[in-house]
Structure formats: structure tokens, C-alpha cells
């Protein structure tokens, strides 16, 4: 019997792994990959709660759909910004692009 706790622990571990990636990575694209992991952990959490506790309205599933939509928009926009920074500075490392104005 798979309990709700199984999914919650999995999503907690996944969120912590994504958090580690965000803190440690230098390249903006690798940080984006880690952010995607964190968002995926959150949607597992939403869907697990919806399936176990909210079978009639399943609001968590609707929320997960929105999370995936916004994640796609975020990746597209962020990669545009990364390309722009790379063209201006010929690096995609966040610790080298530390000023907002130049």
C-alpha cells in the first residue's frame, strides 16, 4: 500500500536536491535545471494531496497544470535573458554577471 507519506517524502527529497543545485551551480542554465526540479517536486506534492484527500474536486491537479504552464513560460523567458547576457559578456555564469547595469 503506497501511502501519502511516500509521495511527500519523495517530493521533499527532490526539493532539497533542487535547492542544492540552485545554491551550488554557477551556470545560469544549470540553476534553471535545478529550479525545474524544485517545481516538479511541488507538483508531485499538489497531485498527491489532490489524489488522496480531494478526490471529488482535485484542485491540486488543476494547480499542477498551472505550475507546469508557468514553468514552461519561465524557462523560455529565462533562457532569452541568459542568451542576452552571454552575448553581452560572453559568459553565462551568474557570479560574473553580478551587476544589473553596465
Amino acid at each position: 500500500m503506497i501511502s501519502l507519506t511516500h509521495y511527500l517524502v519523495l517530493s521533499g527529497v527532490l526539493f532539497a536536491l533542487g535547492f542544492y543545485g540552485v545554491l551550488v551551480r554557477r551556470s545560469a542554465i544549470l540553476i534553471l535545471i535545478a529550479v525545474e526540479l524544485m517545481l516538479a517536486a511541488v507538483s508531485i506534492n499538489f497531485v498527491a494531496f489532490a489524489s488522496y484527500l480531494d478526490a471529488k474536486l482535485f484542485t491540486g491537479v488543476i494547480f499542477a497544470i498551472f505550475v507546469i504552464t508557468i514553468a514552461a513560460a519561465e524557462v523560455g523567458l529565462a533562457l532569452g535573458i541568459v542568451l542576452r547576457i552571454y552575448r553581452e559578456r560572453s559568459t553565462a555564469n551568474v557570479d560574473e554577471a553580478s551587476t544589473l547595469k553596465w
Binding site: T5, L17, F19, V61, A64, F66, T69, L77, A92
Partner: protein, 204 residues
């Protein structure tokens, strides 16, 4: 043309590690399933959880940026499997399409246009030990909080496509339209930011 030594060694050590950990794991889960200690759904759950964790660890620790992006795809496919186990097939399909199709291709495009991935680069900052400590503490807090809470709940029904459509368009119509507007704005914004300024380069 021979492979660069760095790439070669990374592939060999990665495959050996995956084999040394993954094969016993799959074996133990399968034997437990055959012995009847855990049922079929649990066997699938543990295999998918292993797949997700392998993909996630690979994507945050790999020194090769392309391997990191492909590991994210592995993790996303495992998560799609989890959505199937959670009785929402629609989300599983969306997950495969958006992550396996869209996000992975976008990331690989951006990697291709920004990094020459052949030469070994330093991908982790000097804050690595500190970041590891913070993330470890956060993971321990999250997991202990989630183990501590007790839920007596079971999965009841499969969420059908028809129900999702009704709920999405009837009850969440306005947020749905706003989300489509956000996608449109993000699309236009990405094009506006990333394109070359032709007038500037002409003037220069």
C-alpha cells in the same frame, strides 16, 4: 575522432556507479515484489522513485552540462510515471510533452548557444560545502516534518480527462485565460530580449 579523455572517464565512472547501485536496487525491489512482501504498485513506485532520484542527483551533480540536461529529462519521465500512479493520466501526458519535448529542447538549445561543452569547466562555485550543508538541513527538516504528520487517506478514483476539462474551463476559466496570456507575454518577451538589435549593429 577519439573522445576527449574527460568525457570518456565521466561516462565510464557514471555507468559503473549506476550499475553498482542500480542493479542491486532493482534486484532487491523485484525480489521483494515476487516474495509478496510489497504489491505490484509498490514495486513500480520504488523503481520510479529510484529513477527520479538518479535523474535528479545526476542533474545537480554532473560536471557535463549536456548530461545534466538529459538527467533532468530522466527525472521528468519518472515524475510522469508517478502521476500515472497518482491516477492522473492527463498530467503524465502533459509532463512528457512539456518537459521531454519543450523544456529539454530549449535547455539543450541554450547550452549549445552559450557553452563550448568539450573543455572541462568549473560548474560549481566555491560556496559548494556551505550550499550542501544548507540543502541537507532543509531536506532533513522537510522529510522529518512529512514523516511526522499522519494521514489516513487512500486513492479513490482516477481523474478523467472529461472531469479535468470541466473543472478547468468552468471553474478556473479566468486563471486559464490569464495563464495563456502569461505564455504569450513570455513568448514575445523572450523574442524581444534575445534577438539581435539590427539597427544598432547597422549604425555601428
Amino acid at each position: 575522432m577519439p573522445l576527449p579523455a574527460q568525457l570518456d572517464r565521466a561516462i565510464v565512472t557514471g555507468s559503473l556507479t549506476a550499475g553498482a547501485i542500480g542493479l542491486p536496487y532493482i534486484l532487491v525491489v523485484s525480489v521483494l515484489g515476487i516474495m509478496g512482501r510489497i504489491n505490484g504498485a509498490e514495486v513500480v513506485w520504488w523503481l520510479l522513485a529510484g529513477l527520479i532520484l538518479v535523474g535528479a542527483i545526476g542533474s545537480v551533480t554532473s560536471n557535463n552540462v549536456v548530461h545534466a540536461a538529459l538527467s533532468l529529462v530522466v527525472a521528468a519521465m519518472g515524475i510522469a510515471g508517478m502521476f500515472v500512479l497518482l491516477a492522473s493520466e492527463f498530467l503524465a501526458l502533459v509532463q512528457v510533452l512539456v518537459y521531454g519535448g519543450g523544456v529539454a529542447i530549449l535547455l539543450l538549445f541554450a547550452l549549445m548557444m552559450t557553452n563550448a561543452s568539450d573543455d572541462p569547466i568549473v560548474v560549481d562555485g566555491s560556496q559548494k560545502p556551505f550550499g550542501f550543508g544548507v540543502a541537507l538541513v532543509m531536506g532533513v527538516v522537510l522529510v522529518s516534518a512529512m514523516v511526522g504528520a499522519s494521514w489516513n487517506a487512500t486513492i479513490t478514483t482516477v481523474v478523467s480527462f472529461r472531469d479535468i476539462g470541466t473543472r478547468l474551463y468552468r471553474d478556473y476559466g479566468v486563471p486559464f485565460e490569464v495563464a495563456s496570456l502569461v505564455l504569450l507575454v513570455a513568448l514575445i518577451g523572450a523574442i524581444a530580449i534575445a534577438r539581435r538589435d539590427t539597427e544598432e549593429s547597422d549604425a555601428a
